[in-house]
Symmetry: C2
Subunit: 206 residues, 2 copies
């Protein structure tokens, strides 16, 4: 990569390519053309070729892409070959659903601990420790935490996220209904369900 700047739009499509390639692999399909990819993902073939050329252009004219190789390249580019330790802050229903979700293993992300103000309300989960919120500082200071998942109330989200960023966590995955942004201190993805629902309602009435 050599520090080459990839546009946000291309980045946002890489997981879609990756997921599609996973599906092809399951179906034991070895080669795929830009046309096939484009049709599956509702993109144009030239868009697909352009996106993938950002990473060196693995396609061969007339032969298409080797599925295994392209998938391995995108996996490497996305950073999915590295193990990531995650903690969940907020053990409510969304937090517990995330703690239980096994799908993150394919992204090499493992939830190690859940923090909540009311430990007794958080159901036990295999392989995941449950801690009182008061222990958050000490835990983050003493463990390698790559990703903090924020699933506390909106009012608490910014404060708690700022705290773990100050303690050195570099990636925040936020489920509270507020857009968090840490500039150059940490990266963040906001999953805003309420906004998505509002867009859906708007589109449904239009």
């Amino acid at each position: 990569m050599g520090g080459k700047q990839i546009s946000e739009n291309v980045i946002s499509r890489l997981p879609k390519y990756y997921r599609y390639l996973q599906e092809l692999e399951v179906k034991k399909i070895n080669r795929v053309s830009s046309k096939q990819i484009s049709e599956a993902l509702n993109l144009t073939a030239s868009q697909v070729r352009q996106d993938l050329s950002n990473f060196g252009g693995f396609g061969q004219q007339g032969y298409g892409y080797d599925v295994d190789y392209l998938k391995a390249c995108i996996r490497e580019i996305l950073g999915l070959n590295t193990f990531h330790n995650a903690i969940i802050i907020g053990g409510g229903r969304i937090g517990q659903a995330l703690a239980n979700y096994k799908g993150f293993a394919s992204e090499n992300v493992y939830v190690r601990a859940v923090f909540d103000i009311n430990v007794s309300k958080v159901a036990k989960i295999d392989g995941v420790d449950v801690y009182d919120m008061a222990e958050l500082d000490a835990y983050v200071s003493n463990h390698k935490v790559d990703v903090a998942i924020i699933s506390v109330q909106k009012e608490e989200a910014k404060k708690v996220a700022e705290k773990v960023v100050a303690l050195g966590v570099k990636a925040i995955w936020n489920f509270a209904p507020i857009d968090l942004n840490f500039g150059s201190r940490a990266v963040c993805e906001n999953i805003n369900m309420s906004e998505s629902l509002m867009r859906l309602i708007y589109k449904a009435k239009s």
Copy 2:
């Protein structure tokens, strides 16, 4: 609106305006300038003025926007003044978290029923009926269902969504890790957590 076409980008920002105006209302702030809105939402002031002018331009030079009036307008535009009945298909942890979430009431969306292949595993929720998946067709045929929330396994998602769309449901809110698209038959919003996590991991390593 008179059928005026609003761009996807503007639509995607409307919920952010709405949420910000809600916060101002809570703080009992009556007027707001495009500059203040732009700073709160990381947009430019001219972008804010342009977005809001799509809906008739409620701002007054030098006075800014009346918070209550602007919020009411956006609420109307978004369609949040209308009641919406929702059903959840898939009563796993994400489905149950959504069934329990009270926040949707502010968007006038009410979950009426949860469908699952294993009813006994779905916890009872006040005001929400739990049905066996086999009853889905009959339920949708006999009730007004505005939104179907899909939280089944990826392999089942497309089939079950196609079924309710065929039965007349016009809005699909999809949490399964697959992009659904129904063309002109129904609108859809996909919440793809796995893709969001991959983007986060990528950004964290860049």
